[in-house]
């Protein structure tokens, strides 16, 4: 459904854009309906840039992004607005996603104003109640409140509900639960699971491997802007082939093993080289399991 084909992204940085930073290098991924694809990597790996490109918040330098086979690059306001009916994003910090001086439910009204001006108020509030129940929120306890009166988990779920009002096909979820408490993050995570069962495609961007493993069938691990390992979640996590993936997996704090129990030193990794040369190609080492540069 959503497909990235050999996508590259370079930013201009430095004084007057004198330098170039290549943030994403030759990334090809695809998401099917009813699937959660996780993109995992550390800060600076380019994972957020991928989300931004899918949401057209930044342009694609080379390559293309296709939705149902058609290039998504919108020309003009109308095309972009139509695109956002099908693809929406939710971001990391729920508190800065809202305008603190307005009530939080204003986000629903904004959707009505720009997309459904013909819908009557009564019918619209019935729809809002529906989607809120769909994200397991009690409409009575979240409507008419200011952002500071709601918890982070409630705010994130309202943003997801807002996206659902638009009948979207793809949701870009960029670190949406990393700022939430352990007790509420699970609700949001399970909600993503329910959305996938309803046929939505989710691009789940995270640095937390255990979350990626819990929620997604397929995972893509990125480093320095390029994909180093990709494939079925079970395979990548039980049998990581790239040294970077192994290091990453070893650093995850877990309850059934302590770091101090294993003496394994982190493996040496290739330093960040010239980012303009194409990254090592992915080879299929096993069914549904690709690794770069073996």
């Amino acid at each position: 459904m959503l497909e990235l084909r050999n996508v590259w992204k370079s930013y201009r940085v430095g004084t007057l854009g004198s330098k170039r930073l290549t943030a994403v290098r030759d990334v090809s991924i695809d998401i099917a309906p009813g699937e959660v694809l996780s993109v995992v990597g550390e800060s600076g790996s380019g994972k957020t840039t991928i989300g931004k490109m899918v949401l057209q918040l930044t342009s694609v330098t080379r390559g293309s992004i296709l939705l149902d086979g058609a290039d998504v690059t919108a020309r003009g306001h109308a095309a972009r607005k139509a695109y956002y009916r099908r693809v929406q994003g939710v971001f990391q910090d729920p508190f800065s996603s809202y305008n603190p001086i307005f009530k939080a439910d204003r986000i629903f009204e904004a959707v009505r104003e720009s997309y459904f001006p013909a819908v009557k108020r009564a019918e619209w509030s019935a729809r809002v109640d529906d989607v809120l129940q769909g994200v397991r929120l009690d409409p009575g306890s979240v409507l008419g409140k200011y952002p500071h009166q709601l918890s982070g988990g409630q705010l994130q779920r309202m943003l997801i509900a807002r996206a659902l009002l638009l009948d979207i096909q793809v949701l870009v979820a960029d670190e949406i639960i990393s700022m939430l408490d352990a007790s509420t993050r699970i609700d949001v995570l399970n909600l993503l699971g329910e959305l996938k069962e309803r046929g939505l495609g989710v691009l789940f961007i995270t640095h937390d491997l255990s979350l990626a493993n819990y929620i997604s069938e397929r995972v893509v691990i990125m480093r320095h802007g390029a994909v180093v390992e990709a494939g079925a979640t079970g395979k990548v996590f039980t049998d990581p082939r790239h040294p970077y993936s192994r290091n990453l997996l070893a650093s995850v704090p877990q309850l059934h093993r302590k770091w101090s129990d294993s003496d394994a030193e982190p493996e040496a990794l290739e330093p960040d080289g010239d980012r303009d040369v194409p990254p090592p190609p992915l080879t299929e080492v096993d069914e549904h399991h690709w690794v770069a540069g073996v």
């Binding site: 800060s43 493993n213 819990y214 650093s251 704090p253 309850l255 770091w259």
Partner: protein, 317 residues
Amino acid sequence: MTLEVEGLKVHYRTLKGDVRALDGVSFSLADGEIVGLAGESGCGKTTLGKSLIRLDGRMRHVAGTAVLDGEELPIGDDKAMNPRRWSAVSIIPQYSMSALNPTRRIGRMIAELLRSRGKSYRDHRDELVRRLELVGLEARVLDNYPIELSGGMKQRVVMVLSTLLDPSLLIADEVTSALDVTNQKAVAETLVRFRDMGFVKSMIVVTHDLSLVYQIADTIMVMYAGQIVEKAPAETIIKAPRHPYTRALIGALPEVGLEYGDERLQSIPGKPPHLLHPPTGCRFRARCPLAADECAAEPPIVAVEAGHEVSCWKAAD
């Protein structure tokens, strides 16, 4: 005993009344002990950390004592606390990446800080450089402005700076939550190394991430609604938790290996009570799966084993 806290109560003054962020907290810390302090947001864990070093304008010390190395900390007295800060008690703040003065080179900022404590930069510079190298930073960073360093580097500078005067007690408040996994591990292991090398005698690690604190802490305390509900060696808290709240917290953690299809993780229903008028009896009772009539009364503190204390009516079952 490095630190002994007895019946500590700290309230926030608001227009509506006092918010009882810490409502009778007692615990002790042995020499060389790293204790993890876990709980949801708003349970008072940051307040506990801050109370031991500096109360901000809204906070009021109501009752209780904290004794550090045999000497009582004048918690409510800002002036009297000042000589103890940094040298006896030190903190790595929650947003340490923005803790550095952006208008000063790092070396100069540290020099000014030392001078404000009546110490000479020249005497401490060699030790400072040695410790920076220990965390993988070159002496050159002292000539940099904070903006020239990455988030992880700034974090390490602050860690070295906070422990430069070998404090007896270090409070590390959510030091890893803004970092990604590889940096998280490096920072957490550095904390342990600082303890092992004697830069700090003991440490309180405040975090909401139980799986991280399990990696480094000797003891874990779980806080709920301004009180400590369970305290035990790290291994015991994770393997044999007694308090329903601790169990729920652990039950909400996704582990590598667990998948959505196999088993649904459970969140904790409801939210922590507001501490303006905390509920009577057991404060977790409204969200507790085991709640019964007896829970309307203040729960007893039960010592299930040596070093394992639970504040729950059901602990004995």
